[in-house]
């Protein structure tokens, strides 16, 4: 479980999502026994888990099977708001769920939420945030897709452009560089000598040992920068 004590957002960001309703909601939440659910939710650290310790929420968790941080907040908000949440509030609660899923490293929950969100009207900042959350959740292909969609919707947004560039699918840029048959000898050398050089960094060219060292830094001191030389540098594990 991730330690949420270092999460930088929490109450401030939550307030931004829920506005003044959140403060009233905090005031209404009674304090009771401790609950482990707070640890899965990134936005509750400043409350010290008070909301999730409330018997009312624990009852909901026990009877309705809620266990996900974002879902718990949703449930609480619906119970304590004096009115139905507006469309915007619902949408922002979905962002809360994304954040909770990411913080918990729950890719399945993240994808479940992000796939039912309507992205046509989302601001560019939400795309950028969702992309970062997708990466944290381990939903790397979804991050790629969101970046593509974000730049399509906001073609002049610099951050989204940068994200789309970095996360773009692999692109074959050349296919006709000639083979180097001598590289086979390097593999043969490793097969033959792996036991003897285990734990060492080695440099090889066409099956000839160019250098060996306990560290990568030491190897580079011996052979120079191997970039664009065709020399293989690898650690024998």
């Amino acid at each position: 479980m991730t330690d949420v004590a270092h999460h930088p957002k929490s109450a401030l960001e939550t307030e931004a999502y829920l506005g003044t309703e959140w403060s009233r909601l905090l005031e209404k939440a009674p304090t009771a026994t401790s609950g482990s659910y707070a640890r899965a939710h990134p936005f509750l650290e400043d409350t010290d888990g008070d909301i999730l310790r409330s018997p009312r929420i624990q009852e909901r968790v026990e009877h309705e099977g809620f266990y996900h941080g974002g879902t718990i907040v949703w449930s609480l908000a619906r119970d304590l708001f004096p009115r139905e949440p507006t469309t915007d509030e619902c949408a922002d609660l979905a962002m809360l769920e994304l954040a909770a899923a990411a913080e918990a490293g729950d890719e399945t929950a993240f994808l479940r939420t992000v796939n039912v969100m309507s992205w046509d009207t989302r601001p560019a900042e939400d795309f950028a945030r969702a992309i970062r959350l997708a990466l944290t959740a381990g939903a790397h292909l979804k991050a790629q897709r969101l970046a593509e969609l974000g730049t399509a919707n906001y073609p002049h947004h610099a951050e989204l452009q940068r994200m789309a560039h970095v996360l773009a699918p692999p692109r074959v840029i050349a296919k006709k560089a000639p083979a180097r048959p001598g590289t086979r000898a390097d593999s043969e050398w490793i097969r033959t000598n792996a036991e003897r050089y285990r734990g060492q960094w080695v440099a090889l060219r066409d099956g000839e040992l160019q250098g060996t060292s306990d560290s990568f830094e030491g190897l580079v001191r011996q052979i120079g920068n191997p970039k664009d030389t065709g020399v293989l540098v690898t650690k024998i594990s």
């Binding site: 990466l135 292909l141 970095v166 191997p226 540098v233 594990s237």
Partner: protein
């Protein structure tokens, strides 16, 4: 080289693979493939559980990667560990000993190692999900060979 039944090429190049544990602490043999990260040739092990290629941080130091064009990534999971680092765009070459090299511009992860972390025992990685899965590859263990190829247009699979 490998061909489809209609004689279209499946692979454009092939290289030797070696089998050895990923780290000194392990005993299970892994598949290591020769690869060039931005011009530095090394061996990376094929990790079907990893999304991106991972460049050993000391190798990455030689590449003059531009931090301004990178994307920070916290808590990137590499096998059982979480590390912070950056995603970069980088040219990866699958180095052929027969056929042709395959040059691919792709997203790679470069770990940012804290002073209390030790990466020295860990190799570079070729991840499946965001790299190998999006080109073509095949492994012939009897010949210790890794075949690779790609279409001009790469189609992604929806999540």
């Amino acid at each position: 080289m490998l061909l489809y039944p209609d004689q279209r090429p499946f692979a454009i190049g092939a290289s030797s693979i070696t089998f050895r544990p990923a780290t000194e602490r392990e005993s299970t043999p892994r598949i290591f493939v020769r690869v060039s990260f931005g011009g530095v040739e090394t061996q990376a092990f094929v990790d079907t559980g990893a999304p991106h290629p991972v460049v050993h941080p000391e190798i990455a130091n030689l590449l003059d990667l531009d931090p301004d064009s990178a994307l920070s990534h916290e808590r990137y999971q590499i096998r059982r560990d979480f590390v912070d680092g950056h995603l970069h765009r980088l040219q990866i070459t699958l180095v052929a000993e027969a056929g042709d090299n395959l040059d691919v511009e792709a997203t790679v992860f470069v770990p940012e190692i804290r002073p209390d972390q030790d990466w020295s025992d860990f190799p570079s990685i070729l991840g499946l999900r965001v790299f190998l899965e999006q080109i073509r590859f095949a492994i012939d263990p009897s010949e210790d060979r890794f075949y690779f190829g790609a279409d001009e247009v790469i189609d992604l699979v929806d999540e």
